[in-house]
Subunit: 448 residues, 2 copies
């Protein structure tokens, strides 16, 4: 082909009369009168290409195209006649115009040798087997454009506020947390474990004087549940910050950070998200509502909902939905921080409230009723931390490396973790984590 | 303390006469005449704090401080008298001025309860055990500031050029590459493997129509060597791009990307890197020199160096150094792409040169004689790919999921991988990977 730079489908508007080179996939070949029309798809949308009148060879080439072949096409941009506009109307992205291209040259650079065997009606497991084909559809493509924008906007705030990017090791010498849901690796004849979260290592960064850090990376959970909400591997967004007065400083950071992220997402993808997912992106007011757990339970009492069993004093999924609905109705806010969880449902390393040792300086963030974040101020005083671990029955030997972090001068600190796919589910009003994950991993799913 | 916002040590210049609040660590307490001087360290540098004349309680508090305790301090900025300037001269970061603070209030927020047991003279293994203390030293802190800047600058280019951020799964169903150096995970009673690279999944993204992607994430290599150059887990920077004509398009991207990164690093950290590491950051000219492997071997022949054994036709470490030295001498360039590696030392999925099937469309990038990148155009035609695999004795069954990626229309594509710590080693002229890794993992090192 020529040396023309690549033009994207979405750029055709405004280029009428100019020669362009498009690169994309054969979405369809449709007969229109006595000539075929090629509908080409690229990451930005669709383009309609017609052969030059009387070019018999080009007509034959277009008719011989198999759907989904990768092609390069050159031609001149011109306004579309009405029938072609109809043709595109269903498939088109929101900002595509009504320009077409008079095709002059076509090159198949990656021929499809088989027909695509899946459609939207195909059962989820078969679609996951052929995930690379499913990802070609515009709404799926959009998910990963949005994800890219979300992460970039997060990083803009971190960069501005002097956070350091961390890459903590995924191999751990000892089980963390309760020892359950843990993957074991054969590590040169001994056992190693895959990190379920970077918790200890992001706290180590505070003991290292890195002050404020973030990490976006994989975490691993050997959860045996096969549901549309669970996975064995996901991308965790972690933040830890020093020199705080309480967990309220951590919430203060998180809310201005999320506000910026949603501002950028709305401006960049708001229309496309509405079109493909029917979801409205709202830029939240700051501060977000903060609701003490005791007050959250008053709301549940009034609604006649009682959290029972081992979740007592906590919120169950239904409780989270009810609290969120109450906040949305009373305060008009999609977000709510539920704060000060009872100590028995939080890890031993959460700091206790100064005036009530049964409460922790902790919070969850609910968005549209879904928990997207868990955060807290950590206990940084080594004697208090050891006492809290002992009271919980945690043996001090295996966590001595962790207690060491706090024995040489460690500032007060706290942080939170946010599941990237959870966040995307709330943002796009999608209820299946497999849809917003590039390649899902679950107890019965480890391919492709 | 008061509601004053935090001031960083490096900001004191220009604040003479103003009240500030500093947060940091006790670097030292030194007697100066009849009063103690507190030297405080924060992420940006050092500050000298003297008690208000006659404030006996503050004098006693300063004298009781244990080194490395985390403290908050309030006071008024004033010019430093000469002796304090001397005191700071050795330790200070390059841009610290000669301002001090008259201390009015001091709060110990994280007391050190033990003395720091390591110094620069401590053997490496003990220092790695106490890595969080070693990281407090300014040059180590600088490494992670530079890393943060490097990644951010990389992302600026990706963002500008419409790359999508990918998070590919680290659990793999089958061994990749040769099956050697592979970590095995107990995955619900079956075996899974940890990804040694995102190779297959970044190519899948090309088959998915994501067009251009990047990923920064961990990769895992069960290499049993214990050296200062090897690790079992490191951060890999991966790029893959579609619609290329050849591997030269990939090199074209990489060189303008690295030029931007080094421009930003030089502007942001050039002085500090010179001061702490004695390394000069040079912004490279583009294009980088490109040297066909056959010509690289002519240079080695002329230098009397012969690459023997299984590396024949390849470059060994000494060969890389000699080629890089030649290019630096003849062309004045720190970088050189060595291109068109023989097919027998490249994986089966590298595309062969159209005019010479014994050569691949591949390259390595050497920087100061160290290989920092391996890249190539990939073979995207499924029949050619299968034939190349078979010729290499690779059974087609286990890679059929991979061959599928190319059967439904896949554009020509290529990419590269860059080791983040390798890059930092070249940038900072450091020869021990453990120094530039947050927490090193090796065959005998999995703690803390």
């Amino acid at each position: 082909m020529s040396e023309l730079p690549r033009t994207m489908a979405r750029q055709l508007a405004g280029l009428v009369g100019e020669d362009v080179r498009l690169c994309g996939w054969v979405e369809a070949v449709v007969e229109d009168g006595d000539a075929p029309v090629l509908v080409l798809r690229d990451p930005t949308g669709f383009a309609v290409l017609r052969p030059d009148r009387g070019d018999g060879q080009l007509v034959a080439e277009i008719r011989s195209l198999r759907r989904e072949s990768a092609v390069e096409a050159e031609g001149r941009v011109q306004p579309l006649p009405e029938p072609a506009v109809d043709l595109l109307a269903a498939a088109r992205t929101s900002t595509a115009g009504s320009e077409g291209v008079v095709l002059q040259r076509l090159r198949v650079v990656g021929a499809a040798v088989k027909d695509v065997p899946i459609s939207e009606a195909t059962p989820i497991d078969e679609r996951l087997d052929r995930r690379f084909l499913e990802l070609r559809r515009p709404p799926n493509r959009l998910i990963f454009d949005v994800q890219t924008t979300v992460e970039h906007a997060m990083r803009e705030v971190w960069r501005r506020e002097r956070f350091v990017e961390l890459h903590s090791p995924k191999f751990r010498p000892t089980p963390n947390k309760s020892g359950s849901e843990l993957f074991t690796v054969d590590y040169f004849g001994r056992k190693a474990y895959l990190a379920q979260s970077p918790q200890f290592y992001k706290q180590m960064a505070m003991a290292s004087g890195l002050d404020r850090i973030f990490e976006i990376g994989p975490v691993f959970r050997a959860n045996p549940l096969v549901t549309s909400r669970h996975d064995t591997e996901f991308t965790s967004v972690d933040v830890e910050m020093s020199w705080i007065e309480s967990h309220h400083d951590v919430m203060g950071f998180e809310e201005r950070w999320l506000r910026h992220v949603l501002e950028v997402v709305q401006a960049t993808h708001g229309d496309d998200i509405a079109r493909w997912f029917g979801a409205e992106v709202t830029v939240p007011e700051v501060p977000f509502p903060r609701l003490h757990m005791a007050d959250a339970h008053k709301i549940l009492d009034a609604a006649g909902h009682r959290v029972k069993g081992k979740k007592e004093g906590d919120l169950d999924a239904e409780g989270e939905r009810l609290v969120a609905r109450h906040v949305l109705r009373e305060l008009g806010h999609e977000f709510v921080f539920v704060t000060d969880y009872p100590e028995w449902i939080r890890p031993y390393y959460h700091m206790r409230a100064a005036d009530d040792p049964t409460r922790t300086r902790s919070f969850d963030l609910l968005w549209k009723g879904l928990e997207v974040t868990t955060g807290a101020q950590r206990e940084h005083r080594p004697d208090v931390l050891a006492a809290q671990a002992s009271a919980r029955g945690v043996p001090l030997g295996p966590i001595d490396f962790y207690l060491e972090f706090f024995r040489y001068g460690c500032p007060p600190h706290g942080g939170f973790g946010l599941g990237l796919t959870r966040f995307l589910m709330s943002l796009l009003d999608v209820d299946d984590v497999r849809q917003v994950t590039y390649l899902h991993r679950g107890p019965t799913r480890i391919t492709p």
